[in-house]
């Protein structure tokens, strides 16, 4: 308990209560707070557990627990006796009117200096998780560090507390009101990464030539798997902001980019978008889109038709290293592929995923590959065509 602040919690032991007085008497010893635990395993609420020694007398004891300037969920307050759990009994809890307080009625069979543990949910104290990853020059692994950022705006100063997460070691820390503390809690060197380039035809412009003086960046991500092979995999990685750096080979680093990750359970992947590559250029064009009428009504209007469509996508790698480009194409509605010069995986009814290995640029120029796919869309009805994904 910090008596310097007026946002304090007070605990008053009322002894020898014969009858309920009109004004509640709040006096007697102010028990010092002993061991305190700040438990941050639930991201939605922070649980405080504190131990205090109550000087109990034989008979009925009234213990008044009140707080000012802090926000405690009164329904969350729990009391547990630690020294004589069979001999000291909590009889009832009452809430005085218009007060941030509660009164415990405790029955004791003798005089004890009883250690009790009081638990409650305290607002405006929480934690954030941040990551810092430094990749090697070849981009094959990262040295991953994770920090716990403890933010205390609860109104309460904690001189010393054990700060607990759901995994890892506890921190012995004090934290004052309005104070923020950043502590390193995870250090995993040499976590393997996969670098991923992704072109999604529904999200990126098709023809860079049609854009005046703008580069089309192909999003680049690092993929980390939360598994033992990656020297991770012991527990879920919490969501938070990740900043990525890279060793520049000159005993220094450059900042690669930052992203925010959600919770990554064991066995799952974390994908961190670092920035855009402008050295891989995709030029996608529609070379054919013809209608083949399959039925007309008796007025001669087309009521059903198919299409013959052809899409080409030229991929140029201007990098001096190879890259694996993930290309995503979309064909809405019912369709069948007539010919496609590259292998793809059908991810769902209208999404095709290509994994395209691009060699490095050579003396002769950029490495060029061209996807050419010719397909038919079937049974289209004028005015009721399935939605074409966003283009250009």
């Amino acid at each position: 308990m910090n008596s310097k602040r007026n946002t304090i919690m007070a605990m008053v032991l009322v002894v020898g209560v014969a009858a309920i007085a009109e004004a509640r008497i709040k006096l007697v010893a102010l028990p010092e707070r002993a061991a305190t635990v700040i438990r941050l395993d639930n991201p939605r609420a922070t649980l405080i557990e504190e131990e205090r020694v109550l000087t109990l007398q034989e008979g009925l004891n009234k213990v008044d627990f009140s707080w000012k300037g802090v926000s405690i969920d009164a329904d969350s307050i729990r009391l547990r006796t630690l020294d004589h759990p069979d001999k000291v009994t909590l009889l009832s809890v009452s809430y005085p009117p218009n007060e941030a307080a509660l009164v415990w009625d405790i029955s004791s069979d003798s005089d004890y200096a009883e250690t009790v543990r009081i638990s409650y949910l305290l607002s405006n104290i929480d934690r954030l998780i941040t990551y810092k990853a430094v990749a090697d020059k070849a981009e094959t692994f990262v040295d991953l560090k994770s920090y716990l950022v403890l933010r205390n705006f609860s109104g309460e100063d904690f001189d010393k507390a054990r700060v607990l997460l759901d995994y890892g070691e506890a921190f012995e820390q004090g934290i004052a009101h309005e104070e923020t503390k950043q502590m390193l809690f995870l250090k995993s060197p040499k976590v393997p990464i996969t670098k991923v380039w992704k072109f999604d035809a529904a999200k990126l412009p098709w023809d860079p030539e049609k854009l005046e003086n703008q580069n089309v960046g192909i999003p680049v991500s690092y993929r980390i798997v939360n598994e033992t092979k990656s020297s991770l995999g012991e527990f879920s990685l919490w969501g938070g902001k990740a900043r990525l750096f890279q060793d520049d080979g000159h005993e220094s680093t450059i900042f690669l980019g930052e992203d925010v990750t959600g919770l990554v359970p064991v066995g799952e992947k974390m994908e961190l978008y670092i920035g855009d590559s402008r050295d891989i250029v995709v030029t996608q064009r529609k070379m054919q889109d013809t209608r083949v009428v399959t039925h007309k009504n008796n007025r001669g209007d087309v009521v059903l038709y198919d299409t013959n469509e052809q899409i080409t996508a030229k991929i140029e790698n201007f990098k001096d290293s190879s890259a694996m480009l993930t290309m995503i194409q979309h064909i809405p509605g019912q369709w069948d592929m007539e010919s496609c010069n590259m292998k793809y995986e059908k991810k769902d009814s209208n999404t095709l995923e290509f994994e395209i290995q691009l060699p490095a640029r050579t003396q002769a120029g950029p490495a060029v590959k061209e996807l050419k796919m010719t397909y038919h869309r079937r049974h289209l009805r004028p005015g009721r065509e399935p939605q074409t994904p966003v283009r250009r």
């Binding site: 607002s123 405006n124 929480d126 954030l128 810092k132 990749a135 950022v149 933010r151 705006f153 820390q173 004052a176 009101h177 309005e178 104070e179 923020t180 503390k181 950043q182 390193l184 005046e212 003086n213 580069n215 960046g217 680049v220 902001k241 900043r243 890279q246 080979g249 220094s252 680093t253 450059i254 900042f255 690669l256 980019g257 930052e258 992203d259 978008y273 670092i274 920035g275 855009d276 590559s277 402008r278 050295d279 250029v281 064009r285 529609k286 070379m287 054919q288 889109d289 013809t290 209608r291 083949v292 008796n298 007025r299 001669g300 013959n308 140029e316 201007f318 990098k319 640029r361 950029p366």
Partner: protein
């Protein structure tokens, strides 16, 4: 002005006294500083090394940065020696104090320890710009690339190794916004406040001017800019160190290449540029063009042309261009011109092949247009002309005649003619375009053009 201050407080372990005794021990100054400046975002990675004198036991290091634009959440300190004996336990942002961080360091060594402090700051920026000088015959161009580094960070960085990053970095928060937050990580359940006004610029001009004058008298040997690829970015390292006082900019030569072969390319596309021909200067970022060692960062290019033997110049125009990867073509748009003319003329129009539905209404037809295109080069140099024609339909056939150069289908409704013209010459060609309409589209068969 030095706004970043470091104070090392040593807490002498005193077992008998309840309160720790705080001693102000040293004010270590920066030994070296390195700036890595980004241009896709207002962001700079600062790495500075300082020698701290640590004592065995608990040490507190206070780092303050009032009136700068440092992102406090990016602060990191790493010992460069005895790393196993020095534990940086935590970094605390004390309550009710702004722009201050306190590192708690458990040291197992007594004496000087080199440490490296890194952080991200806003306010430093760089941009690329270029100057091109064409020879009189416009066959080659001298190309000079410059970088301009500007410091508005609130901090003077003296003798800093300066590095520039070319590339598009993904960031979530603006560093300037993070720098202005009252609490580095915000507070629970609160949306960060809107950005405040930029940090005040209380720079003393006279002092800064003295610095610059001093620099101006130093021997002026052009510095080399070393370029290397890292991940998806390029890193430019400026030779030696630079001092850029707060509020000042500095221009440095990045490269200077003479006799880059250029093509005078003219483009005509009514739908895009209107009736005028647009002039482009084209070259390739490759070895043949004496370039191609690294990508060229996007920027503005001002193009001049040498006139006469006296080294006089004529201003041709300017163009901004995008990032050019190695081996990619560069096309610089210098704007519309009148000395090259492309005149498409519709010489004949007819329709045929009518189809009728059951009620004898027209349901299909063909339109046949005969175009004549005249291209006139009034200049006294060789030029290359690209003419694009859009048909607004994909159901078309074409029959070319005359000297139409090379011809290609760009996409389903666009074709491109490419012609080379001698000085002061004219070329004429024609084409007959048949487009299919209504049910006649059903009779159209694709022929690879």
């Amino acid at each position: 002005m030095k706004r970043i201050a470091i104070v090392l407080l040593i807490i002498v372990a005193t077992t008998d006294v309840g309160r720790a005794k705080v001693d102000l021990v040293t004010l270590p100054s920066r030994d070296t500083v390195q700036l890595t400046i980004y241009n896709s975002a207002d962001m700079t990675l600062v790495r500075e090394s300082r020698a701290l004198t640590l004592k065995n036991g608990e040490n507190k290091l206070q780092f303050s940065w009032a009136n700068t634009l440092i992102d406090p959440t990016s602060l990191e300190m790493l010992p460069q020696a005895n790393a196993d004996k020095i534990d940086i336990a935590d970094l605390t942002y004390p309550p009710r104090v702004r722009n201050l961080g306190l590192w708690n360091i458990e040291s197992g060594v007594n004496g000087k320890v080199p440490v490296e402090i890194t952080y991200l700051t806003s306010g430093l920026s760089w941009r690329a710009f270029y100057m091109g000088t064409l020879t009189e015959n416009e066959k080659t161009m001298q190309l000079k690339g410059y970088v301009v580094v500007t410091n508005n960070s609130g901090e003077d960085y003296e003798n800093a190794q300066t590095r520039l990053i070319v590339g598009k970095v993904h960031i979530l928060d603006q560093i300037a916004e993070l720098a202005r937050r009252q609490y580095p990580y915000g507070r629970p359940g609160q949306v960060p406040p809107p950005p405040a006004m930029p940090a005040p610029q209380e720079e003393s001009r006279s002092r800064a001017r003295v610095t610059m004058e001093k620099l101006a008298t130093m021997p002026s040997i052009a510095k080399e800019v070393k370029k290397e690829g890292l991940s998806e970015y390029f890193l430019y390292t400026i030779e030696g160190t630079e001092t850029i006082p707060n509020g000042w900019s500095k221009r440095l030569l990045s490269f200077n290449v003479d006799q880059v072969p250029v093509i005078n390319l003219y483009k005509y596309e009514e739908e895009r540029y209107g009736p005028s021909v647009v002039r482009f200067l084209s070259f390739k970022n490759d070895k043949e063009h004496k370039l191609g060692e690294t990508p060229i960062p996007g920027g503005m290019l001002k193009v001049y042309r040498g006139v006469g033997d006296q080294g006089h110049l004529s201003y041709t125009g300017q163009s901004s261009f995008k990032y050019i990867p190695v081996d990619e073509d560069v096309e610089l748009n210098l704007g519309p011109v009148a000395n090259l003319v492309v005149e498409p003329k519709l010489m004949d129009f007819k329709t045929e092949n009518y189809r009728f539905d059951r009620r004898d209404n027209v349901s299909g037809w063909d339109e046949i247009r005969t175009f004549k295109i005249e291209v006139r080069n009034t200049r006294d140099i060789n030029v290359k002309v690209e003419i694009k024609r859009n048909f607004n339909t994909q159901y078309w056939d074409i029959d070319n005649n005359g000297d139409f150069g090379s011809f290609e289908k760009v996409d389903l409704d666009t074709i491109k003619f490419t012609l080379d013209l001698q000085p002061r010459s004219t070329k004429k060609f024609g084409y007959i375009l048949r487009t299919y309409h209504g049910v006649r589209q059903e009779d159209w068969t694709s022929t690879e053009q």
